[in-house]
Amino acid sequence: MLSSKVINESHGQDSSYFLGWQEYEKNPFHETLNPSGIVQMGLAENQLSFDLIESWLDDHPEVLGLKKNEESVFKHLALFQDYHGLPAFKDAMAKFMEKIRGSKVKFNANKMVLTAGSTSANETLMFCLANPGDAFLIPAPYYPGFDRDLKWRTGVEIVPIHCVSSNGYKITKEALEDAYERAHKLNLNVKGVLITNPSNPLGTSTTRGELDLLLTFTSAKKIHMVSDEIYSGTVFDSPEFTSVLEVAKDKNMDLDEKIHVVYSLSKDLGLPGFRVGLIYSNNEKVVSAATKMSSFGLISSQTQHLLANLLSDERFTTKYLEVNRKRLRERRDRLVSGLKKAGIGCLKSNGGLFCWVDLRHLLKSNTFEAEHSLWTKIVCEVGLNISPGSSCHSDEPGWFRVCFANMSDQTLEVAMDRVHGFVEAMVMNTNHGKQKRTMWDSRRRSLINKWVSKLSSVQCESER
């Protein structure tokens, strides 16, 4: 009676990535109202710099009542549904993106397609670039949402490019060729490579060398290169952010019709609720088709108007980017040092809203089952929702993505205390008697059993 998309549950939301969120929803931490609740560290949100935006709004009352030059623009906005978007908004976005790239790349508003978030941008690009059954190569580990956004309704497949911790997850020529071969062995026609730069979940920006390698590869294979640069404004450490478009320019490929960029304001500006995404492409046909498809998810004109005003204030955007980066770096440093005190290391990051944390030494065995077991414990008993590497298609068990930009300083302290307590307890368990281990084992076993047998829900016993 329903489509196979509904029946097959191919939406990808049964992943632990989303299940952890569900556990958080049932028992969310609050400093005063629910201090023993689960701390949300599985949602990559940037909540550090709202005060800057709010004070800008205080200073610009004319945007507020939807008045422009004393005339109400409300009527114009209420009726404005042109999928080409508000010109002032696109121009402002182009300027903002240029600023993030240190003016090393120029953006032309006519090559921009506005979409309802990068969720919609990524799906739309797949609809434009690939047929059902075609494949895109994506460096793993990658953002769990891609399983839904890129594959679900499009019928496109993802073939991971294996990246490993031993070389800092660098994308290598061998890994690219290997992924390409594997796709062909599966009878999949490879249509392109999609990267997230800076990477989610790693928090590292793609180096110039890697970008050069990627463009050489995609050019040789005559396939597309899609770069999701949603975290471009969050790079707070060296190396500084390099866009694929900058390297393309160096290689005289700046008008190449197979290079496409996806962007959004959900991370850099911390405005995920507003649903602001875009596709940027030199390919006229892609821009034309994607623009028509954007009808299915246009950006509210009310939001375009607000952001056109906000982003065309250059003084504001310069200050915002600088302060935002500083606060992100400080927050990252606190997380890293807090984890270090507990004997836990992270991949060295230079951007993003999260760290890629190494808990391999806490695994009972070098397996994903052990990772799941550890994860369940961390969510249910320690009370931290973090994302297990397996949900990000990591090849090696024991890595977890831990977000740091969506909470107050106090909450981060609470989270660190819990981590320390947890690690101490694990050490004690290893060194002291069987009794605790038996209790631990049986609870852990029951949790694993519940987890393995019924992947659609996690049941946390309220223990804390």
Partner: protein, 488 residues
């Protein structure tokens, strides 16, 4: 050779979907908009421009909306009164939507259905306008290659919204002017039996676009029964729910299923939006309301691809929970729609131009069959080109709405002020008097040649007489020659 190779390469570089024309924008429906875009009417700056009568927008109550917005600064997260909510709203991306938004929309849907039925806020799923809603519903209910029955004539956008990326087909259910374009069970049965694809559902738009008619209770019941019996879905697009005026009553499918105790509600779904009833197409507020729990769940996951901006949810939640405002708005909107409709139809009556009797929507279904050279769609397109480029009115030809019979045109009236309406009517008056003059000339010429005319007022499309000039079809020689009003 090189060019061919490049084109072929280009073709393979993109998906079939992007390279094809499934987007449906090559239809005459959109060509007229383009003509308008190139030369838009303005009473002072461009008095000879094209008047837009091809876009079904409700612009009659913008003043009420504006006043409310200015009087309620707390509804904006940008004002001093509202900015304390900024960060909460800005980070809110939960695809369930703001609870207060869903509650307010549910209440509004109840009001627009005269409070005869209750809507559950937990069944409200957001989408990128009704455009996004239709596509999502198609993704949920049908697989590529399946089909939905759709009564003709229908909204041209459906060709894109329901088919383009989903691979679903539309199977027309032919409706005829002879019975006022009513949907009959015979037509449904015939379409269902003869469909060459597996039929998964029936999509109706009630009130109808482009007809402006509403379905009566018996008809709705028969549609529910038909779909239930066949085990297929019934999707009711009720986007024009609050645009009824005069004596016309809107009955929602939600009301009718309450009267059918053994109705399988898993097959019932409603698509809604604020674009027409509230005149807010720019804010992209689309709603899927399904009685099927599984569809609600999955559609909600799919809504990630087209959520309503939280800033907009916040504004709408405040606006629609102001019950006094909503009641007043709906009341005034209906009055103004009735007035504007009357202005247009009285004008057309005076010129002897026929139109389908209907009491809803933002448009009328105009009958120009007797102006066609021949009863063909080629003739219709010829007439349409004259109307767009010479008379300078962008109207939508019935062929673009998949009407079975040529000669009908959708004419929108709610997107212009009184003066523009006057100008439009004047242009039609000039146009028809030119036709009369030409027709009289022709009549005299024909009389000289001693030809006989059919004296019946009702045109026969089987008449194969052709004319040497212009785009005129034969009609009574009684001067001043009236254009036949459609008999309903």
């Amino acid at each position: 050779m090189v060019a061919l190779t490049a084109e072929k390469q280009d073709h393979n570089l993109l998906s079939r979907m992007a390279a094809g024309d499934g987007h449906g924008e090559n239809s005459a429906y959109f060509d007229g908009w383009k003509a308008y875009e190139e030369n838009p009417f303005h009473p002072i700056d461009r008095p000879d421009g094209v008047i837009q009568m091809g876009l079904a927008e409700n612009q009659l109550c913008g003043d009420l909306m504006r006043k409310w917005v200015l009087e309620h600064p707390e509804a904006s997260i940008c004002t001093a009164e509202g900015v304390n909510q900024f960060s909460d709203i800005a980070i809110f991306q939960d695809y369930h939507g703001l609870p207060e938004f869903r509650q307010a929309v549910a209440k509004f849907m109840e009001k627009t259905r005269n409070n005869k039925v209750k809507f559950d806020p937990d069944r409200i799923v957001m989408s990128g306008g009704a455009t996004g809603a239709h596509e999502t519903v198609a993704f949920c209910l049908a697989n590529p290659g399946d089909g939905f029955l759709v009564p003709t004539p229908y909204y041209p956008g459906f060709d894109r919204d329901l088919r383009w990326r989903t691979g679903v087909n539309l199977v027309p259910v032919t409706c005829h002017s002879s019975n006022g374009f009513k949907i009959t069970v015979e037509a449904l049965d015939a379409a269902y039996e003869n469909a060459r694809v597996p039929v998964k559902g029936l999509l109706i738009t009630n009130p109808s676009n482009p007809l402006g008619t509403t379905l009566d209770r018996d008809c709705l019941k028969s549609l529910v029964k038909f779909t239930n019996d066949k085990g297929i879905h019934l999707i009711a697009d009720e986007i024009y729910a609050a645009t009824t005026f005069g004596e016309s009553e809107f009955i929602s499918v939600a009301e009718v299923i309450e009267e059918i105790p053994d109705c399988n509600r898993d097959l019932i779904h409603i698509v809604y939006s604020l674009s027409k009833d509230m005149g807010l197409p720019g804010l992209r507020v689309g709603i899927i309301y399904s009685y099927n729990n599984r569809v609600v769940q999955i559609a909600r996951k799919m809504s990630s691809f087209g959520l309503v901006s939280s800033q907009t949810q916040h504004l709408i939640a405040k606006m629609l929970s102001d019950e006094d405002f909503v009641d007043e708005f709906i009341r005034k909107s209906k009055l103004r729609l009735a007035e504007r409709h009357a202005e247009l139809t009285t004008g057309l009556d005076g010129l002897g131009i026929g139109w389908l009797k209907a009491g809803a929507g933002l448009f009328i279904w105009m009958d120009l069959r007797n102006l066609l050279k021949t009863a063909t769609f080629d003739s219709e397109m010829e007439l349409w080109r004259v109307i767009v480029h010479k008379v300078k009115l962008n109207v939508s030809p019935g062929g673009s709405c998949h009407c079975h019979e040529p000669g009908w045109f959708r004419v929108c009236f709610a997107n212009m002020d009184h003066q523009t309406m006057e100008t439009a009517l004047e242009r039609i008056r000039v146009f028809t008097s030119q036709i009369e003059e030409e027709s009289l000339k022709l009549t005299k010429q024909m009389a000289k040649k001693k030809k006989c005319w059919q004296s019946s007022l009702r045109l026969s499309f089987k008449d194969t007489r052709r004319f040497e000039e212009g785009f005129f079809s034969p009609h009574s020689p009684v001067p001043p020659s009236p254009l036949v009003r459609a008999q309903i």
